[in-house]
């Protein structure tokens, strides 16, 4: 069975934020909600590294484990999705997530939290695939159209890869072999274990 994964090659990531605006473009997430972000370590210092981070669609997703209303579900290929009609916006998932992926848009005055929003691997949500309701609540459903997440598809240097784990790993393995040196795939083992 195929397994969908993200991989960010830190040797290629240049912190151009293409993934971030690609996400905003296809999902039309509002100002202030960032399903994907680029994080830079050692900013401005020798050894500076950047990594693009979003929901990694973890194998044993900690968010799902802590959700008090069990609004998460997982496709057979490991895409972690959730139902906003069930979500109560409690924020437990935010604390559980090692990647800081869950977002809580401000929908009312006084900063009351809205329903949780996060990267869907461009696979929408439970409402009918490609429906207007689905787009409004979850953004694009590219997977159902045979397309992969826009962030990876538009990555400036092809640092961010998204797709079948074996194919992703093949590309990355080839790069590491050509470069020599240590793999730079921050977050991969944390999200997917050693397997």
């Amino acid at each position: 069975m195929a397994r969908m994964k993200f991989l960010c090659d830190a040797d290629r990531c240049i912190e151009c934020n293409g993934c971030v605006t690609a996400c905003k473009n296809v999902n039309e997430v509002p100002w202030g909600v960032n399903r994907r972000r680029v994080v830079t370590l050692n900013d401005g210092l020798p050894g500076e590294k950047s990594i693009s981070v979003a929901c990694m669609h973890c194998t044993d997703a900690p968010c799902a484990a802590v959700c008090p209303v069990d609004c998460f579900y997982t496709t057979d290929d490991g895409i972690v999705l959730h139902d906003k009609d069930l979500c109560i916006g409690c924020g437990y998932c935010f604390y559980a997530c090692p990647f800081g992926a869950p977002q809580f848009p401000k929908t009312e005055a006084f900063g009351v939290r809205g329903k949780m929003d996060k990267c869907t691997f461009c696979a929408g949500g439970p409402d009918g695939d490609g429906s207007e309701e689905e787009f409004t609540k979850y953004g694009a459903n590219r997977i159902s159209e045979g397309k992969l997440p826009a962030c990876a598809e538009m990555c400036a240097t092809k640092a961010l890869l998204a797709g079948d784990a074996d194919m992703v790993a093949d590309i990355y393995r080839e790069r590491v072999m050509r470069r020599g040196g240590r793999p730079q795939t921050w977050g991969w083992s944390q999200a997917y274990g050693e397997g």
Partner: protein, 991 residues
Amino acid sequence: MKLIRKQTDNSSNKAARGSAFDRRTFLKRSGVTAGAAAVAGSVPLGMMRRVEAQTASGSRNRNVEVKRTVCSHCSVGCGSIAHVENGVWVGQEPDFESPLNMGAHCAKGAALRYHGMSEKRVRYPMKLVDGQWKRLSWQQAVDEIGDQFLKIREESGPDSVWWCGSSKANNEGSYLQRKFAAFWGTNNMDHQARICHSTTVAGVANTWGYGAMTNSYNDMHKCKSMLFVGSNAAEAHPVAMHHILRGKENGAKMIVVDPRLTRTAAHADQYLRLRPGSDVAFIWGLLWHIFENGWEDTQYINQRVYGMDKIREEVANWDPATCTEVTGVPEEEMRQAAQTLAENRPGTIVWCMGGTQHHIGNNNTRAYCVLQLALGNVGKSGGGANIFRGHDNVQGATDVGPNCQTLPGYYGLSDGAWKHWARVWDVDYDWLKNRFDNEGEYDSGDGTLARPMNIPGIAVSRWIDGILEDPENLSQRDNIRAVFFQGHAVNSQTRGPEMKKAVEKLDLVVISDPYPTHLAVMSERKNGVYLLPTCTQFEQSGSVTASNRSIQWREKVIDPMYESKPDAAILHLFAGKFGFADKMFKHISVDDSGLPSPEDTLREINQGTWTIGYTGQSPERLKLHAENRHTFDTTTLVAKGGPCDGETYGLPWPCWGTPEMKHPGTHILYDTSKPVSQGGLTFRARFGTEHEGNNILAEGSYGKNSDLEDGYPEFSYAMLRRLGWHTELTPYELDVIAWVAGQLPEKPAGSASQSYVAQFRDRESEVLDAVNWKTDLSGGIQRVAIAHECSPFGNAKARAIVWTFPDQVPLHREPLYTARYELVSKYPTFEDRKSVWRVPNRYASIQETDYSGDYPLIFTSGRLVEYEGGGEETRSMKWLAELQQEMFVEINPADANDRGIQDNQWVWLEGPEGGHIKIRAMITDRVGRGVVWTPYHFGGWFQGEDLLDRYPEGSAPYIRGEACNTATTYGYDPVTQMQETKSTLCQIKAA
């Protein structure tokens, strides 16, 4: 799968939670208020428009048209696929088939669709009346503006209106901008290439022939070494980094030289921190090691380079200690870098604004070229000078567009050049001449007198001086009294307070732009400002030239938004108002909406631009390339099979001869390993055949299969006759040559009989002999030269010295405002010049004062990935604006502590000419001690004041901030009027 080594949980957790401090968190934190304001109105317009589109079509995803466009935010030329439903741009998809970007985008490219939903646009023509913006019809606007321009023309002559074109116009729009100025009767027309790579174009063209990128982004896959000087590709040309990192993965050694440890430097094998403004010293320091160790390519130099001996003499002065003293780069680092370049050939050099924007910019660019010539790197795949241009069509606009010193195709402004273009335009030369101010003669710059038609106009960097300077000191009749800006951001130019004064002095300001721009709000004007809503490139079709000289065809994505019109349509309206539309658009059809045909316009460009081989790229060929772009190799850019088999993607110029000749385009300039007919070239014989008695043609070096096996001068009819090749010209070609020579009254219609033209065939006539590869409108001379595998422009040596420039050998000269004043006596600037392109240039009179006491910090500027140029457009795009919410200055912790400045605190940055800006401090080691850096994309503030109230309602960009150039200072290159923005001084104090 056990591929990935587990990393420490500690560091990764920290990063994920955003507790690690970086520029993003800094900006997110500081921008809370701006964000909150934007959230208030956050129902996305795109959402509404999407619903509209679907309502109109009944349900989802029928009727989707697929359009192919090219990103308009830098010169890489990234293709992008647009999905359009009922006229609404509903989706953006990656263009995986483009060999230039293979689907990839940076933040700007991945946000392109926002252009189709921007609510901040100028929606209809407006004028400022007593401080209020008043709506006008297009007809009213054209009549009012036109009448005032005509009145100024009557009173002060045609040179009193200054026109600004754009690198963001497509080839057709920018070409028409230049043609329009010619028909109006002035050379006072320029565009942002002036302040981008003008010193490159002049320096490089004067070294080996053409002033353009010699290779391509894609060719960097083949580099063995890469030297970046003053180029931050990761932020300025992000998709280029795809090619660069592939090159690096293939084993190339990457060296980055910059005052800042940039995001590009983060990927380098070696990073050298350079003192701003010491580029020549740095390059000579590298060459010192190269010559010292005999690492230069002696055979290459002997065959293909002239003047290297004089370079050696200067380089001898730059021993390691001296070089380190001036540049600040440690001696051992210099040696190591030189060795890397010597041992890893072919290697390329990349430079950008960090190298060009200096008052000795032309010296810098020539020094870079000389380094590459010494290493024998030019004309080789994996080598070359990969000069990354800025805007999407800055290469094309430089080639065929609005430049104050030349007609399209670098023909210059001589009578011969004007006559050439008069023939192409099919207008009477005398009529054209009479459009100009012929009343007086003025200082042309070298002390001789000339008429304004033959004197370069006032450059984009100097228009404010055209307004403020005493007319006695100008090489034209009167001051500039009105300006017309079509697609340019004035906040990208230096000396803000003086600009404000200049704008306030004008009779009239006209801004033709999708957005209001900083110019509309920066002054205290209450009247006499017009805004004309103008289309982006997504609302029109046309061709665009990427940095590598590849030309791509853009399809129109959506109809013009609101009441906006494309550049060409606006120019057509004004040409009508001024009474020369019939002449100007004689061979260009204009459709019912008033839009001149981009196809016809490109064909006219094809018919005139022989100098640079912009002649073979017909609209039909370009469209064929677009359709078959998947057939092109992503490294060589050559099509494998299919209808474009063997051609190079986008027919990079020179694409010699007529389109029918099917030249494949030239991927790598000056590559003698290929025949000219297959994209090979020699160095151009542009500077005669000898200098001080020395032969300057190539020796023993020539293109593959060339019938001339040595150097040769440029091709003319005389040369063909001498070689006996003139008999190969067709009757039609000979007929056209005779017409160009003035031997026939009418332009030949298209065919001629052998017997009719026989009279010219062997005639020894000076006028006939003088027709050459640049002026022969039939393309016959080029065709015959290439049939013999010769370069039409000759085969010469590149020249390491340029005897027509102020510094024959590139010299280091200290910046006008230098922090190292003790070096001025040894490396002084130029003497003041009375007239450079119509205005005086000051040098020594500024440098004679030492400002380094009160203004001890070196002030330099650069790019952020989210924004482009002056930023009016990109700061108005929500998806981008959210990511960079405030103007800031990077300051070293030591300098901040010396001034008691905290991170994120408001500070005043003041330049030595008094301009001051209120911005946030960002404390970082990215800049070295004594150097501060700001981005240059901000505008809409002026010296502490947010100018929000001055924008037409609802049109202010989401993000506004101080323009860094409010605080930058005087300083201009003597060859090109390039402005000095990369090395001045400032002081910073807490606000």
